[in-house]
């Protein structure tokens, strides 16, 4: 009995730590989708790029020792922001906003397919440049764990992998920083205003296409940081992004389209579901469970837990 409790607590901890990082990835996606109504297929690949960038930067920051991976992950942010904003300006913006008026479906299909093209180029480009062998950060944090005694009996302990736990904490801090940005700063409010009503936003002097560009850049930056935090425990390889696409979308939809804080909780729930499912299902099926949950949410409650509008096309 005690063993079961210990196992459950262990899985719960795993779910929370995984969930925190997933939550961060969902926040990045929610930002882009919430503000621009753009479904970004390449979001998973932004994570992948973040992973590789972090490994590269960390290898040059050897002096910082164990903290290096975390610093690198954060340094990835401005790089990814610039790249994302550029991508928006030169490519994505051609299918959104006023320029999209002539396209069918107001450009929604076009941007969906455009981001798919970007995803393919990023994935296969990474394959060309980096090769297919997985790349990871060597850090003894990944193989050390804190041991927390559970009070059930003398032997039960909770093992918290240090790298994973620290990554989860950093995720929470970054997510909270983003919430603060969106809620309280003038920039954040102008982004929300542009999302609420682009026409009225223009009338009060907000440059809506610049707002979109910033949102896209921020979304890319968040994905990059999340990738950097993930690479401590998951090796980087060119197609790793596809694993996270469904997780992110499941989390965002669960949390409710239009709610950035909801997206974080959605990601948390997905992480918990994924880890807890290992108690009853074989390991290989844990992702399948996520997909199943995703499809069920879409069918049963598309507006999610905190969402504003259902069935938005």
């Amino acid at each position: 009995m005690n063993a079961l409790i210990e196992q459950f607590v262990q899985v719960l901890a795993a779910g929370l730590t995984a969930g925190a990082i997933y939550g961060l990835t969902c926040v990045g996606l929610a930002l882009i989708f919430g503000i621009m109504r753009v479904i970004n297929f390449a979001q998973g690949d932004f994570i992948m790029v973040g992973m590789y960038l972090t490994v590269w930067i960390a290898s040059r920051l050897g002096i910082f020792g164990d903290v290096a991976p975390f610093i690198s992950a954060l340094l990835v942010a401005p790089l990814m922001f610039t790249a994302g904003a550029a991508l928006h300006r030169f490519l994505i913006s051609r299918t959104t906003g006023l320029r999209a008026v002539g396209l069918s479906g107001d450009g929604h299909q076009a941007q969906l397919i455009l981001t798919l093209g970007v995803a393919l180029i990023l994935q296969n480009g990474a394959l060309i440049v980096m090769g297919s062998s997985p790349v990871s950060i060597v850090s003894h944090l990944s193989s050390s764990a804190w041991e927390i005694p559970l009070l059930i009996d003398e032997d039960s302990t909770l093992f918290l992998n240090q790298a994973r736990t620290l990554a989860a904490l950093v995720s929470v801090v970054v997510a909270m920083g983003l919430f603060r940005l969106i809620r309280s700063t003038e920039l954040g409010k102008s982004l929300r205003a542009a999302a609420d009503n682009p026409e009225a936003a223009t009338y009060v002097g907000i440059d809506v296409s610049r707002a979109h560009r910033i949102a896209f850049g921020l979304g890319a930056a968040i994905a990059g940081v999340a990738g950097g935090l993930l690479v401590l425990t998951t090796p980087a390889q060119p197609f790793v992004g596809t694993d996270y696409i469904i997780i992110m979308y499941a989390g965002v939809v669960l949390g409710g389209i239009g709610s950035i804080t909801g997206a974080f909780w959605g990601g948390m729930v997905i992480g918990l579901v994924q880890q807890i499912s290992t108690l009853v299902l074989p390991l290989q099926l844990q992702n399948a469970t996520v997909f199943l949950v995703f499809v069920l949410i879409l069918l049963l409650r598309p507006q999610g837990l905190f969402g504003r509008s259902a069935e938005r096309a």
Binding site: I39, G105, G117, A119, L120, I246, L285, V295, A313
Partner: protein, 584 residues
Amino acid sequence: MQNRPLTPTLVLLAALALGWIALSYCTASPYYILLLTLVPIWALLGVSWNLFSGYSGLISFGHGAFFGLGAYAVMIGLTRFNLSPWFGLPLAGVLGALAGAAIGWPTFRLRGNYFALAMLAYPLMMAYFTGWAGYQELSVPLHREAPVWFMQFTDTHAYVLIAVVLLLSGVLISLAVERSRFGMSLMAMKQNELAAEAAGIDTRLWKLRAMMISGAIAAIAGGLYAVVVLVVTPSSVFGLVVSAQAMILVMFGGAGTIWGPLIGAAVLVPLGETLQANLGAILPGIQGVLYGVAVIAVVLIAPEGIYWKLRDQRRTAHIERPAPPPPAAVETIAATAQGEMLLEIDGLGKFFGGVAAVQGLTFSVREHEVLGIIGPNGAGKTTLFNLLCGVVTPSTGSIRYAGQSIGGLAPNRIARLRIGRTFQVVRAFPRMSVLENVVVGAYAHHATDADAWNAAARAVEQVGLTPYASAAAGSLTNRELRLMELARALAGNPRLLLLDEPLAGLSASDTDELIAVVRRLPSQGITVAIIEHTMQAMVGLVDRFVVLDQGQLLADGLPADVMRQRAVIEAYLGRNWEAKDAAA
């Protein structure tokens, strides 16, 4: 599509098929023969994608689900049941159709982006399940004792032959669908799903049928793929690349035409494979990069694909527009005797979250009457209209049509009761003829295609557009488009016709022409209700006015009476009008 000759297309297809097979005999290199086999297989997958997404406009990112299902069905048949692919392929088709139904039924409830996301999930889910079930990698077992029975030919040209035959079958099925009401209904849904529903088309049913056929064809393509490449893994047949490839080939070549998948496959597959073969060692992902670049280029430069871009460029050179007919002599039309109550509305109300859009509406429409429903902006006319057409359900009150309660019925059911409607924004098929645009409105009411075309021709004549029947809708003026929209509604042989702001934005002379057409309708047995803002043009047209303001009925009576009523004048011009008027 009916008027386009079929024979040249068939001849061209036969020629291409024979040419391809002949090409394969020009080489003995296994590599090139494999390439010549893969192109038609991927083209077949493209055909299946086009059949569903190309015509209906619902983008499926999950056709890999069907492809993979077919591949694994044939593989498992071979490895575990010793089932010959000659039986395995048809079985794959059946499974694909069933999967299409199983996936389509729940997923069609979702719109646009949600639909695309859900479709994305299915093949990935299936990949995980297959992996877990232990079918990581499957290879075709060799059967030297009965090679032909197991579709294992020493002369690999045979595979080219089989692939081409299957592709040809798929294309012919596409062609049949495209030219039938099936294809027209799908395309109407793509243009404007609500309008299609209003024309009586059961959109859910057609989507399901399209998905089933599409799934069957994709599965067969997958099955043949397995036979030809000899090894399958979950990622090679269920992976995102497969679904993406289905989509990219068709979007590149042109969606919504049988030539699209053929062009796309013929250009991109050899290009990709060649790049992969030559540069694959140093640039291992080059094929993916190619596809990515191709799809971005297509979206930005030629969003509808190469076929349409080329065709439009050729066509603009000579767009034939028939000379406009001489203006008809003004005819006086005797007033039609008005009959029984056709539409009775009692206490009708609709609340949106506590706010009453309309409430307490009570009025009726007699048979063969022309009723004008007017009122200032925000008066609730659109809500009333949507209630009559089934777009929204009443919160209170009732709507009775020919004695039957219709409040809350779905739009396509209301359409089948011979209530027709027009849309303010006309979304026509620009490349199709006026007649082809109009026939969509006739399908729900005519069992055979021949009857439908006849009804369409009659409707076109009713509105006076016969000289333009074969002209492309993209070349019409606003007035003509409005008339065509009216013809589409008339093709359904309506008893009650609801017109949604038919005069909006038209010039004075255009308005007169449209009014003349509408004025004739009661004598042809049709009752008309028109929603409009302004009264001027309507005064000579309607028998009666019903005036709405702030969601309530303000007046109901003859035009001359209604427009002198103070409440009506004030609704438009503001309170204290009489005082100002008197003072002036």
